[in-house]
Each structure stands twice: as C-alpha cells, then as structure tokens.
Symmetry: D4
Subunit: 227 residues, 8 copies
Amino acid sequence: MTAVFDYQRQERIGLPEAVFCAGKPPTFLTNLLQELREKARPVLLTHLDQSRCDVLPTEVRNAIQYDGISQTGFLNGCHPARDWGTVAVVSAGTSDARVTREAARTLEHAGVVANLIEDVGVAGLWRLQARLPSIRAASVVIAVAGWDAALISVLGGLVSTPLIAVPAGTGYGVAAGGTSALHSILSSCAPGVCTVNIDNGYGAACAALRVLAGIAGVHRVRETPLA
Amino acid sequence: MTAVFDYQRQERIGLPEAVFCAGKPPTFLTNLLQELREKARPVLLTHLDQSRCDVLPTEVRNAIQYDGISQTGFLNGCHPARDWGTVAVVSAGTSDARVTREAARTLEHAGVVANLIEDVGVAGLWRLQARLPSIRAASVVIAVAGWDAALISVLGGLVSTPLIAVPAGTGYGVAAGGTSALHSILSSCAPGVCTVNIDNGYGAACAALRVLAGIAGVHRVRETPLA
Amino acid sequence: MTAVFDYQRQERIGLPEAVFCAGKPPTFLTNLLQELREKARPVLLTHLDQSRCDVLPTEVRNAIQYDGISQTGFLNGCHPARDWGTVAVVSAGTSDARVTREAARTLEHAGVVANLIEDVGVAGLWRLQARLPSIRAASVVIAVAGWDAALISVLGGLVSTPLIAVPAGTGYGVAAGGTSALHSILSSCAPGVCTVNIDNGYGAACAALRVLAGIAGVHRVRETPLA
Amino acid sequence: MTAVFDYQRQERIGLPEAVFCAGKPPTFLTNLLQELREKARPVLLTHLDQSRCDVLPTEVRNAIQYDGISQTGFLNGCHPARDWGTVAVVSAGTSDARVTREAARTLEHAGVVANLIEDVGVAGLWRLQARLPSIRAASVVIAVAGWDAALISVLGGLVSTPLIAVPAGTGYGVAAGGTSALHSILSSCAPGVCTVNIDNGYGAACAALRVLAGIAGVHRVRETPLA
Amino acid sequence: MTAVFDYQRQERIGLPEAVFCAGKPPTFLTNLLQELREKARPVLLTHLDQSRCDVLPTEVRNAIQYDGISQTGFLNGCHPARDWGTVAVVSAGTSDARVTREAARTLEHAGVVANLIEDVGVAGLWRLQARLPSIRAASVVIAVAGWDAALISVLGGLVSTPLIAVPAGTGYGVAAGGTSALHSILSSCAPGVCTVNIDNGYGAACAALRVLAGIAGVHRVRETPLA
Amino acid sequence: MTAVFDYQRQERIGLPEAVFCAGKPPTFLTNLLQELREKARPVLLTHLDQSRCDVLPTEVRNAIQYDGISQTGFLNGCHPARDWGTVAVVSAGTSDARVTREAARTLEHAGVVANLIEDVGVAGLWRLQARLPSIRAASVVIAVAGWDAALISVLGGLVSTPLIAVPAGTGYGVAAGGTSALHSILSSCAPGVCTVNIDNGYGAACAALRVLAGIAGVHRVRETPLA
Amino acid sequence: MTAVFDYQRQERIGLPEAVFCAGKPPTFLTNLLQELREKARPVLLTHLDQSRCDVLPTEVRNAIQYDGISQTGFLNGCHPARDWGTVAVVSAGTSDARVTREAARTLEHAGVVANLIEDVGVAGLWRLQARLPSIRAASVVIAVAGWDAALISVLGGLVSTPLIAVPAGTGYGVAAGGTSALHSILSSCAPGVCTVNIDNGYGAACAALRVLAGIAGVHRVRETPLA
Amino acid sequence: MTAVFDYQRQERIGLPEAVFCAGKPPTFLTNLLQELREKARPVLLTHLDQSRCDVLPTEVRNAIQYDGISQTGFLNGCHPARDWGTVAVVSAGTSDARVTREAARTLEHAGVVANLIEDVGVAGLWRLQARLPSIRAASVVIAVAGWDAALISVLGGLVSTPLIAVPAGTGYGVAAGGTSALHSILSSCAPGVCTVNIDNGYGAACAALRVLAGIAGVHRVRETPLA
C-alpha cells in the first residue's frame, strides 16, 4: 500500500505540504514519512501525538523537529522566511494551547511570523485592551476560543483586518466538543468574521497564508485545467 | 372542562398569577379568563397574540390592558408598586423586543420598576459603555440576547449584581431558534451568570422578583407541607 | 423607543453601515430607517422582504434602491467605487440566488466589483472548468453552495486566493436548513477554506472586504481603546 | 509562556479568584499555581483531579487543601467568614456528589455557610418533605439534579427564595451527559427558576454569591469603564 | 389506487381498527373512508382536522361522530361497552387537550371508561393531591405532559398501577416539539414508567387496552404463523 | 454522608428496592450497601460492574449473588416466588445480553418467572416464527432490540399482550448509543407498543411488574397523601 | 441570468436530464423551462407543486405532462421504452404517495417499467406476504417507508435483488421529518440494503437505473477526463 | 445460552454468512465460533479486533485467516471465485483503511474480485483523474470517504455504474463520527448515489453483491413465504 501524496499542492495553491497523522494505520504512516523524508522537501506533520512520534524509525524521527504541545512536526525543516507581514495568533485561554500553537507552528513552517498572544478572554476585558495595539498591528488575526467564544465578537468589532476564528473544543457540559463555540462564532454579530472547523489551527493558518499571499501580490495565474 | 387555576401561587411562592395563553383551545381560554375576571384579582396574561386577544368576549377584552409588542395583558390591573429597587432589562438588539418587553411588563405587573436599556450589543462596545452606569445602578440585571449572546459574557465580567440571561430566538442559520445563544450563555466564561429558557422573558422577571424579595427581606416562612 | 445605531462602524472597522431588517417590530424599523434617511449616509439594508419594503412610508421607500431577489436595499445610495480588485461570487446552483446576490449587492454597496458566476456545481465538472479562468483572476473568491457543498472542496484545491464559503439552506431531507452544507465545508479536505453562517452572503462580503482592504493597504491604525 | 491571571476579578465583580485546571498543559498549570502561591492570596482550584494534584511540586501541593470528591482545592486558604446568610445546596441523588460538593466548596471558600442536603429526589416525595423546613430557611437554594431533574420543578413550586438549578451529567441512555436534565430545567413549569451549565457547581455558587451580596447590600458602585 | 386495510387487526391483536388521516392525499382518504363506511364496522379516525373532515362527501361525513379538540372521528359508531375497569387519563395542563382527549376518545371507541383528570401539573402539588384518590382507583393511568413532564416522575412515585406516559409537544424554546418532555420521561427516576411517541394519545390508549385485556383475561391464543 | 434510602418504595408502589451503583463515589456506595445489608431485606443492585463489586468489603460482597453479564447483584437474596404468570424477555441479538438479562434478573429478584428468548431478530423471520408460541404464551412481553429495532414493530403486529420495548445501545454509526433504536420504537407503526429508556432492562421489568400486579389483582389502595 | 444546464448528463452518466424546481426564483424557473422546451429533448421536472406549475406561461405549461401527487412533470415527453426489466416500487403506507410516485414517474420517464405496490407495512405482515411474489419478480426493488421503516429490514431479509430504500418524512413526534426512518434504514440488520436521502424518490429511481443499465450491459466506456 | 445462527441466509438472499463480533460477551462469541467452525462452512467475521481474536481457543483461532487492518476473519476459508465482474473499492484517504478493506475482504470472501484504489480525495483532482479509467472499468463502484465526502459527488458525476458510498467516521470537530460525511453523501447533487451506514464496509460489499448477482442473472426465484 502506497499513499498517493499531493506533491503539487505547493505549486497549485501555494500552501505547505502536510500530513494529517491521526488515524492512519502505523505501517502506512511510517512508509509515507519514510518516502517523504527521502524527497528532502519540507513537510508539516499535524496531529502527531508524542507516543506515535516516539515509535517512528530512528532515521525518520531524527528528521523531525517535534513540538509536543501543538502535536506538530517539521519533517526536513521549514520553508525559508517570507516577508509577508505578521499574523497575530490570539487565544482566550491557555487550555486552547494545542490549537493555538498548531496555528503558530503552521505559519512558522511556511516562513511567516506569528505573534502569539494568549489568555485574553473577555471575562476580564482589561487583558484584551492591553494587547489590542499588538493585535491591530498584524496583517491578519487568527483568534482561538472555546466555551462561548465571546472573544471573537468583541475582537470583530475592534479590528479591521481579516479575522479568522478557530472554535476550540475545550469546555464541559454544552461547551464540550466545541459546538457551542462554533455556533457562537457563526452567529457573531460582528460583521466579516469567518471560521474554520473546531480545533483546526492548521486550517486557520492556511487561510491566513492565502490572505498574506494576496497582500504580497504573489497569487499565481495558472493555466492548467481541473486537475 | 374547567381549568384548575393555581390561585395559591402568590401566597405560596410570592410570584404573580399568570396564564400562558398560547396553545390552549379557544373556548378553554375564554372560559378561564372569564372566571379569572370575575375573581377581580390581577392576573398576567402571556403569549397572547393580537388576533387571539381581539376575539375575546367584550367584557373580558375590556378588562385587559394589552401590549402588542410583548404579547402580554394585565387582567384586572397590576399589583401595587413595591419599593424593592430597580431591575435593569438590557437587550442586545431591537429584534428581541418581544422578549425584552415581556420581562419588563412582568415586572411592571408585579409593581417593580424596570429600567429598559435596549440595543447595546457588543459589536460596538461604546454603546454598552455609555449605559454601564445605569446598568450598575440596578439591584438585578436581566439581559436578553440572541445570535452569539456575547453581550452576556461581557456584562458578566463588568457587573457584580445578580445577572439573569435570556437567550433570544432571533437569528438565522445556526442561530435560528436561539440554541446558539443559549449554549453560549451556559458556556459563558464570566462566573455566576444564570439563564432561563429561550425567549422566556416572563421567567427571567420571576427569577428577578425572587431575588428582590430576598433583598427586601420579605421571604415568607411557610409551615405547610408539600402541597 | 430609539435604536442605538452604530454610526462609528465605518470608521472603526471599515465596513459598511447596515441594518438587518427581519424580526424588528414594524414601527421600530420605520423609525430607524427614517432616522438613517435623514443622515444622508449610504446604508445597506438586508433581509428586507418585498412586503415589508412596500409598506414603508413613501419618503423612506423612495430613498431605497431595492432588489427583490437578494432582499437588499441601498438607502441613500452606495459608497463610491474603490479600486480594490475583483471578488468572484460563485454559486453551485440558481436556488441559492438570494444568498449569492446578497453577497454581490453588499460588495456593490461598498464600491467593489463583484463578478457573478452562478450554477457551476460539481455534478458536471465541465461547468466549473469553463469558468475557472475567471474565478482565478479574482483577488478573493466567495463560493455559495447548499446540499453537499462539494463545490467548495473542489474549488479549494484549484484556487490559491482567499476562499470564503457560504453554506446555503437550500435542500430537503438531511440537507434542509443548510447544516449538511455547513458541516461539509468545515470538514473540507481542501486547506485554508473558511466559512460564515448559513445563508450569510452579507457576512461573506464583509470578510472579503477585510481582505481587499488589506491588499489595498488601507487598514487604519487606531489608537482608541475598547469602545 | 505566562498565563494572564485576572487578579482584579475580586475587586471588579466581587467573586473569588479561581483556576479551571482541566485541559491546561501540565507545565502551564504548574507555573500558574506557583505564581499564584507566591501572591499568597486565596485562590479556588476547580476540576483538579487527584492524579494531576498529586504530581504538583511539593511546595505547591502543600499549599493546597484538596478535596477529592469535589475535585477542588483551596490554594492559600479561604476568604474570611461572611455574615451573608445560608445557602441550601440540595441534590437529588448521591451520584451527583462531585457537582454538589463543588458548589458547597466554592461557597466555603468565599466564607459563606452551605447547608448540604443530599439525596432528596422526588421518586419518594417524603424525603423532600422531611427536609423542606431546612431548605426554606436558606436565603438562596442551589439544587443539583440529573436524569429528569423533576426535583427542580417540585422545589420551584414550594420555595419562594431564589432557586439556582444545576443539571448533572449523571445518567445513561437519553440522560447521558445531562442534556435531558438541562432541558427539563429550562422547560420547568415552576416560574422563576434559573440554571447554569451542566455540572457547573462552581457557577451556581457564584450566582448565589451575587444574590447574597445583594441581600447584604455590599454591591460596589464602580466608576471605571469597560476594562 | 386502493389502500390495503388491515381488517384482521382486531382479530389478531385485539386493538381497534383505525385510520391515520394526516398526510394521505385527499382522494385516497375519501376512497378509503367510503370503503370502510360500506363495511359497517366501527373504525376510529385519528389526526383528522376540521377542514379535511368538512370536505368529505356527505354520506361519509354523516357516518362520522367528529370531535374537533381531539381531531378524532368514530366511523360507524363505537365498540360495545366492555367491563374492563377504568383508565385514568391525567394531564398536566389544558394546552395538551388534543392529545389527552385523543387518548380518551380511543378508549371510548373501544368501549372502555376513561376518567379525564386535567390540569394537575406539579408546579402546584395541591392540584395533584386533590385528585390522587381518583387516579389511584383506576386500573391503568395514562399521563400526558409537555414542558418538563415532571408530573410523570411524581406520579410514578405515587401510584402502583401501570403508568403510560405521553410526552406532549406543547412548549417553546427547548421544550418546543416535545423532545424535552420525552427525554425527561425516559430519564424518570420513578421505576416502571413507560412511554409512547410525542403526542401519541392513540398509542397510549392502545397500550392501556393491551393491559386491560390482560387483566380481563381475554388475550387470545392464536395458532397462525407470522402473517 | 448518608444516603437517604427509599425504604417505603415496596410498600408505596409495590416495586423492589434497588440501588443504581454506577457513578456513586466508592465510599458512598460501600456505606450504603453496608447499611442495607444490615437491614436484611432483599435489595436489587444494578449497574454494578465486576471491578466495583470485587473491591467491596468481604461481608458485603458475600451477601451479594452477583451476575457479571447483567451487572446485577441480589443483596440479601430475592423476594419469594409469586404466582403472577410469565414474562417473555425477547431479544434481537446476543450483543444485547447485558440489558436482556438485567430485565430477567429484576423479574427473578421480584419472584416472577422470566422466559428468556434471545437472538430472534427479523433479518431471518424464521427465527422469530419458531419462538412465537412461547412468546404468545406469556402475560407480558419485554423485547430488547438495538440497531433498527425492527423486531419491535413485527412483534407488535403479532402479539396482543402488553409489549414493553427496550432500545439497546449496541451498534455503530448512526446506531451508536441506541437513539436510532429508540426513535424506531417510538415511531412504530404497530399500535400500543410502549418503551423505556435506552438499555433500561430494569425499568422494563418494573413496568412488567406493574402490569402483572394488575392482572393478579393486588394493587393496593393507599390513603396517604403525596409523600 | 441564465442557468447553466447540464445537457451532457445523459451522455456522461446515462441518467435523465432533470430540473429540481423548488426554491428557484420564479423568473429563473420560467426562463430555464422555456429554454429547455425549445431544445425539444425530454426533461423530467421534480418538486414542481401545482401552484407553481399553474402560473407557467401557456406554451411551457402545455408542453408538460403534470402529475399532482408526485409533483413531477414530463417536459417534451418521455424517453422511449427500454427492455431493461421491471422495478418494484414498494411503499409502507399511502401517506408516502408523493415519494413513491416520484420514483415511479422517474422510471416511467426513463422508459422503464415500474410495478407499484403500495401500503404493505409490516404491522400486518399478511399484506406483504401477499405481494412477495411480485416483489421478488423484479430486477430491482425500491422501498419507501416513513415512521420506523421496519418494512425495509423485513424486505432485506426476504429478497435477494438490489434493494434501494427511501426514508419518508411522514410521521409526527420523533418520526417527523424522516430522520427516524433514515436512521432505522442505515442501522438495518438486513445486509446489503442501501439508501438515499429522505423523500428522494427521484434519486432512488436513478440508482435503480444505474443497476438496470448494468444488468442490460449498456454502461458506456468513456475516454474523456474529469469534466 | 446458544445463539440462533441464520444458516439459511446464503440460500435465502444469496449473501455470505457473517458474524458481527463486537459487543458480544466473550463466552458467547467463543461458543458461537466453535459451533460455526464445526459446521465447516465459510463464515465471515467482522469487527473482530486483534485482542479479541488473540484470546480465542487455539482450534478456533487456527481456523481463521485474520486481517488486522480490516478487523475481519475468514472462518473455514472463502467461497469459490465467481465470474461476476470487478468491484472498484475507492477511498478518499488512507485513514479510512479499516472500512475500505472491510469492503474488499467481504468481496474476497464471496469470491468476487475487488480492485482497491485508495487515497484519491478531490483536494487534488489529478489523483482521481489518473485512476478514472480503472474505476470506470468496474461493474460496481464502492467509494469510502470521511470528512466532507466530496469525492462521492465528483465520482457520481463521472461514472455511470452503480455507485455505493460508505461515509467514514474519520475526522475531528464537526466531522467526528462520520455524520458530516453521511449527510454530505445523502445530499449529493450527483443523481443515483446510494449509501450505507457510517463505516459499514461490509454492508456496501453486500449491496454490491446484490447488484453483481443481478448482472450475472443468478437471482433465485423463491417460493417460500415470509420466514
């Protein structure tokens, strides 16, 4: 069994090659990472938990810069730094750290500067106020929030930049799993907020990269048809 | 068929006698209101829409002070004014007017002063800031919000008084029907916020009356058993 | 009763002043539009159905350029044209026209060019292929899709620009109400797709405007605090 | 990484400083508790399970009075006793003990007397009847119930004091997770009952403290703006 | 098109022949009722609203004893009275009248005595207490309740007879449609309560008839195979 | 902490005293069982898994007749045999064994004969046909089914006795957790089927006992009020 | 605005050209049907209710053979008859007629013989038994069922041919909208049953046509790429 | 306790005898497999995880050809090869391997050729394009997809053969558990796609076998009645 890796993604839509590691049978994952390692191109690994990372073959393991909080790895290093402006990655609380840092690591892997601003939930608005200048200085804002995700609506009324929300699955009771945060964000009374799937820090970073590429004026004009 | 009205409620738990008018077969409703009119005690009518109100027998209709926006009626007038302090009834937007005013009318019926503060949703925080002194001056705050209900979490972090939220059913998409607002409120990161059913302005006012009675020191000590 | 209109929104976050007309009690709506008409600033009206529009006072009605399919109105005209690039507004089918055109009208109101590309669902991929060059030429893509929303994932793998999806509520059975489309979009295997609420063409256009402003380099640096 | 603790909460809204311990990465939690320990102010720890508590550094662990059933800890002791009246904390069954006691411990931490009355579900009404005088003697009633939460409606018709319900997640089948209890409470035919999130004993206690502060006349008038 | 009526039901399982009238295309319904009228056997019609009843052909209409509240009709009269004991049909409120009376009419059609006891919800327990002797005197209890359905759990702890609950769809917010009542009943802490579908008064009556037939000792021993 | 056991249940509603063991803190459970053991009255223990049973104090453990499949225990033995007829306990498949046998054990504990008929799902109707005479010979039928629960509708059209369904939580995909089985049963086109909560074999047996007591003519007439 | 009709569908996947008429703005629908009428190719119209059909321009209306029960129309007639064997279209009840006949009409439009067998639900198995030979004689079976959809599982255990289920939205309570039927079918214990969306008679017929084409050996080998 | 195995299934509906191993109490499973082993007929075991397989008695274990990825076993070998054409088993990603291979193994057990084509999700359409000729060459297509399942709609517009979808439970956030994939498939805009339960590779293979048997002309005409 050989996975069919989408090597053209970088060329086609300008986003980093990535492997979603959860759920794949272990031998599949190992074979795929081995193959990718040999290509010597930088690949981002997501949803790679510590225990699965630790049992990879040594040569593969050694080629990965792993971060346990975000459960991400850089295989064959990162892309070179890009002068595309800064992304503010904001979070309501530290329980969302896996997601927040998955977004930051995805940006880092793509060569983009992420400014990490954590623990500014609106139950104490002064925390947000203190960081507002930093947030407003970014080209794009990614905001991660679980529970009621009220941070998103407040931010949406305060910043004029693109704002990409990530509902987080932290919480208990009706908040468990992140649906309350997701619905709160989708229902936000602040205009022009958009969102990605619950806990999808990677996807939010990719959306931010699409915007940054636009600002940088690098969207390619492709002539190829559907595939 | 005769309904079995709970005349002792006022004596037992200190809350106003009320009739939920929706869904009752028309002849049932007419008979019940006729009976109550003859008792000459003040009764609050809720969920009474204009068309059902207009076809009531004249003598019943004349005994009702009706308000179309809140769909409430005062049958046989209101309770005398009580010196129990003020309740701030705050709303995020004017689309919630039926619910907001149902709460205010319930308080008015019970003889309590309601301070109505509408349209202060957090997408523009300055609107809330301007009214914050009035809100903080109340003994209890009722806050009505649909959509993402972010107003509740912001308020919960700014006022120290009892805060009773009412999720409103306004909205479309995932906000339709009020579940997103309800879940947002229940998940609020602001401590000590409590809530009632979606669109239940009446219930929020009753909860506020329980608190006001406590502050006023009038909770009765009853000796009677279960019934 | 006076609504508290957020006149500073344009200054604060650069998005057009707008009124969500559904659900407001008729007298509230009339008073608000009357007040706004007198300010002589361009305001966008959304979710204004034909019957509510037709009973507005003549002087208000005359100040509105109304479009029945999108249920939008331009009160006091539009903003001047901006040289911010084009937004492709793509739809899977013509049943989504209300939403698709709400997005296009919101852009038009803000002075931005919308390129409307309807009825390119993926059940016949040739329809999409024929329009792909036009779609790729835009700075931002808004894509509206109901049912299974498969168009979004296919587009996400083909364009490198920011892609903002709008799930549409068209459909029956499990598709009714748009939840299946919403979940399909959130689960998209194409990276960097983001979404707004079901049927929220207005919100998608606002998100696109945030991006275009970034590309145009006009994001303001504000010094003011929270409100 | 440093969490941004909301030290002003006590001053701003009069509620105890608290840390929600579940979900935080272990090193984050340890650092935060270390920092708080050094401040020497009483802090309530919630959702701290035995295993996470046991691996804290000794100096932190020694500063915590831990209770395994409620999964709460008092870091740096409690607030001094307040003469604010009694809260009855009532439960339907002993399976709800974690939640019931979380409420009681939160009150204890704030210096308020909690009268714990457990296992009085309505399947045998005599159990409730026997404890009714104690319940009616309290200034506020917190009632915890899982399954059908019928206790709440019965209590709501029998007591005139503020009644704050906590739906509990105990149960199987449709009761699993507490949604049936939550919906039952929100639908209660007893007027003026309010609720908090499923299993949120802490939040119910905070809501009770808001009420008690009102009865005690200690709500502060603050002049500060939003943050 | 001819419907295939299950004429053997009475013989096979001892329950009355019945026609569910909602949803059938009008010509189908007319043809079926015409056919049944000619058979001259008593048939129960359920979910037959007034407007559909009024446009039936005169000869069919005349053969029906119609009741508008329950939306039921007796075509060709009822079954002869049976000496099978009494069924108490209890309801929490008068808004449930359609369902309560559908149950009572189904019993009446089968020749069984229904004792109708309405409006005894538990928010005022004295109402239930007053009627408890009548309820306990019945052989089977059917109890109809919407909202939180707390009546069911209280009844289940007070009566030893078979207790068949019917969740009612009355209510708004989370109670709308009857799911909260259904889940409350299924989660009841009172042992041995069983339920039927939301609003299914007919089904509850059939379940009661199965029990009464058992008490009366009339269950037939059938020798036939599956069909 | 002492639980408040409902010792009067047997007297009040004729159903066996029982303890739901899941979820109770271990020390609570031990104390309660110790107390009950000393009363020397037969008590049914449900949801007692093997591991919790094994760590009970020896004297308590020795007083329990434990069955691992049903996760039930008889503390202080069973009630004497009653001549109340037979209950057929039918199941669709052997994966439902825990539930099926919980029902049978509850009946056994009450002194009633349970005829266990397993694995007769309708995908092969011949299996049901072979057992139909035994099923029809019982006074009451309890039928346990997971997945689509089609067995219930087929049985409901074939037997005239009371039929109490138990939806089982076995299954995967949309069947996981038993909701599909529950909804299928509630929607059954066979008249007079009633149901209990998912996996509630105990409750179904209690409902059967209520019916059997009726057939046996032993329902007590109680004079006592609510409690 | 011109819709982009998928004229190549017949050539590409061998299924009839069709227009889903619900939801399209009226002028869009009229223009599209006008265009299609002029092409003089047979097109199937679905979800065309009587009132929308009646207001079409006369020349369009005259080109349509309309059937009110199925809400379908044949524009420009049908395809010639095909010798592809018979499809049995089976339904559990006559309330499902719109869906059942939509399936039959779709087959008729494609030139295939549909054998309509209605009202054979399993509450009376003799009805199904009588029609079993006809059902078994078909090459493919389409089975429509609402409520508990138990018919599907019983049929799945009795026929060896392909069996395509259609859950129907008829029913009330938990059955309303067809989700209970859908989940019941997906959970069916009979192997090899497949399903389409709720109420999707058209889709079931298309699935049957795919099978019949296979049996007839006419699947085309296409060389063209994706579009 | 003896399970009642449906030995006639093969004769009655032509599908392989199979045992669903999950959830059965271990001793039940062992006894059943022992009995089946002795019959020496080929039986398919599904949902048999490695740990349960490893503790089977040696003689049973030795009679099973086990595959850990699909969690299937062949007890007593497979059916002889059939010349019924090929089934393409297509998957969107390698995380779906358990389901994909369960389908392939079920076909292999029945003697049918499965052409396994994995990892062709539509985020990179070139992957699908490369394999399209192989897919079109099959008599039936089974397609497995999780997340948004967009592959199904794209395939449905490209192949004319019967297409049986299997939604997969892989994914997180709203995709978790497979409901988003299921709803996407049911809502597919491609006509004639049908589906089975989430993760039900076995059922999809059985549905394919029903079709292949039809194409091969081997459907039996049975004369037997219902059972």
